[in-house]
Assembly symmetry: C2
């Protein structure tokens, strides 16, 4: 058995309205931040999968991403294999 940690990144498809992204853009001037554009806000889900091997684990993650974590009509996703327990471990703050 292989145990692997994955991340699923879900973002609104190009051309789909992103109200959260617009809200972030509108807040930038209040913070005095300039030069930021094209903000897209989505989800990131990290999970551990135990399966026969790495290939079988990725099949599980792809299915989960397509059926539960994203709405295929308006969102697209990408699966990312993580080296450690979490992608943020090294940059914890």
């Amino acid at each position: 058995m292989s145990t692997s940690r994955f991340a699923v990144n879900v973002l609104p498809k190009d051309g789909i309205l992103d109200p959260q992204g617009r809200a972030v853009e509108r807040s930038l001037s209040h913070l005095g931040i300039e030069g930021v554009a094209d903000v897209r806000v989505g989800r990131r889900v990290e999970l551990t999968v135990e399966a026969a091997d790495e290939v079988a684990a990725r099949v599980v993650v792809e299915r989960l991403a397509a059926e539960l974590l994203s709405n295929p009509l308006i969102e697209r996703f990408a699966v990312e294999a993580l080296a450690g327990a979490s992608s943020l471990t090294g940059a914890a703050r």
Copy 2:
């Protein structure tokens, strides 16, 4: 001037309750998916920054992540430089 695309990944800190992660875990058996554990649900924000150089751009992103995109009491973030327009471009579906 340099124009770069970044992603900010925001996740609940270890030990912080993650109701969305629990909800995903509870849904797995309905989908007939086994072997998935430790689900953490967070946000992913992608943005374009125009700044004097790559270092200055990253400073802007770090400030945005700390002051607007995350709640430092309960969340941690990591900044990721993206090669193209979006990390999901290559895996669009």
